[in-house]
Symmetry: C2
Subunit: 323 residues, 2 copies
């Protein structure tokens, strides 16, 4: 009668390494195929809430101190990840985004345990526009998506949802519409549906991948989807909450702050406007010190001015268009 289910908690744990956004990966059960996100069960007998449970096993297994933690989405994912030997007992999984800072010695400790941080753009390479529009979009992704859309449009021609070709146009910023970095999840899902990802094949949706070259590293289960959700959410959150600072050292230069923001958004931002924004929002204060580690003129050091949280209701980095 009452259906019994097990809950899995999966975390996309983000830290900056050399001003690049990295996520913690562990070897997947099918280790040859793909990485996995760290995950653990939720046991309501030992943890009062799921977030406490998550913090518990993460800090226990990785010795990382988590800062901001945020629930992303819950899915009961039968139909996905049906490996023949279905060793995964949990049917419902809850995805989380977590932010942390990481020290070099922690990195080596993790490495010995087989885990480690990896640049999130290795999993989602089309999301990185910092060096301009990624060539793989026009070379591989968009042509194949267009081919798929032509078929899918017909199949869904009377659905009341948006037709695939339009979803693609909006998600990928085609004809007139512009690229919106927050739509990372939409892009992932379209590529999954169109058979452009290793996961599309693994889940039995396609016989073979519809594109020859790499479309980023795959992950176990839905983990890459969770990562795409985390990327979308973090990119959106930055604009109205000062969460970036949980990824920064206590003292930093404005350029370093800008680089971190750019690396998360996957695009460059306008230097002066960025600075004015940070200044007007009173998000930081000068420490008084400066550093000449950067080459060129020494840069003033700043720290996060935590009091903004108590002053303004939504202090974020509402960065504008391309820089």
């Amino acid at each position: 009668m009452a259906q019994q289910i097990e809950i899995g908690l999966n975390a996309a744990i983000v830290a900056m390494i050399d001003n690049n956004p990295c996520i913690l990966r562990v070897p997947g059960p099918d280790a040859l195929f793909a990485d996995a996100l760290p995950s653990g069960p939720f046991d309501p007998r030992t943890h009062r809430t799921m977030e406490i449970g998550l913090r518990g096993w993460v800090e226990e297994q990785t010795a990382l101190q988590l800062g901001h933690v945020e629930q992303l989405y819950t899915f009961g994912d039968r139909g996905r990840h049906q490996s023949p030997d279905d060793s995964s007992p949990h049917i419902v999984s809850v995805g989380y985004l977590a932010l942390t800072r990481v020290q070099p010695e922690q990195i080596s400790a993790l490495k010995m345990a087989g885990a480690g941080f990896r640049d999130w753009y290795e999993f989602l390479p089309w999301e990185d526009w910092r060096k301009g529009r990624p060539a793989m979009l026009d070379d591989e992704i968009l042509p194949e998506l267009a081919r798929w859309a032509a078929i899918a449009d017909k199949r869904e021609h009377q659905s009341k949802d948006l037709r695939p070709s339009n979803r693609i146009r909006i998600a990928f910023g085609l004809d007139g519409t512009q690229w919106d970095e927050e739509r990372a999840l939409d892009r992932y899902e379209l590529m999954y549906s169109a058979g452009l990802l290793d996961e599309s094949v693994r889940d039995g949706r396609y016989k073979e991948k519809n594109v020859k070259s790499s479309t980023g590293r795959p992950m176990d289960h839905d983990h890459r989807r969770i990562l795409a959700t985390a990327v979308s959410r973090l990119r959106a959150k930055l604009k109205y909450r000062p969460v970036v600072f949980e990824l920064m050292p206590t003292d930093f230069t404005l350029t370093a702050l800008q680089q971190v923001v750019e690396s998360i958004f996957g695009r460059s931002v306008h230097k002066q406007n960025f600075r004015r924004l940070v200044e007007n929002a009173k998000l930081v204060e000068p420490t008084g010190a400066s550093t000449s580690q950067t080459g060129g003129r020494p840069a003033a050091l700043f720290r996060f001015r935590g009091e903004v949280l108590e002053e303004r209701p939504a202090p974020g980095l509402r960065v504008g268009r391309l820089g």
Copy 2:
């Protein structure tokens, strides 16, 4: 080893009745105490995804056609709703927001089954500013919140989160900060923590309610919290997605549209600016007909122009400040 858990799906199903936002309520298990949100189990054997499961039992039990459905939040809520006879077996519950249209005959059918729609402001009366600032805020809620904050501030004085008095200031728009209709959830949670709600007492957090008069109808379990989440989410969503139209009849006057938007936001909006907004966004088109049902000059009828979905990436009603 593997902890077995049951999943409950709870839906805040919203429909407009006489231009007021109403939610579907059913008699709670503890029927004398409070209403409940409709809820049902998730059985992965019969439903591929949780959303399909939800649509399934809702349409089966209520004969309502759901439009937009959106997951809100998942909580593993031990510690809440510990009724002495804990007859509720599920420990994890997933909250959903769903929009629907309802006909008079459906209302009577539901009434016979003991269910029915109720104005959501009966549950959250402090959220309705359409007739000005609700008196209960200054009469009851804010004084008691201030008293609680004085104590709670001390207890949490070294927490790195915001102190309660500041969370109150931001959530309720005190000194300089202005009321933000999207913070309905924050407000609910603060009132719950401060012992202002019947739920605070029922859950054993307080011996008695800290305020004599009514602070809105209580609900079972976390259901009023889910409702507050739904209100927040719908208010936010309206601004960047044209979901209002799922709550409107196919043909409507611009004033009716404005009233629906106002009733959801719980505040009035500026008439001309609202109209210009709707017009500029090309969200509607005239049907050609007009109605004189409204008293006064007949009003032109409009319908939703569904093509905007295919044209603009984020077509919503970015309504501005107070009208």
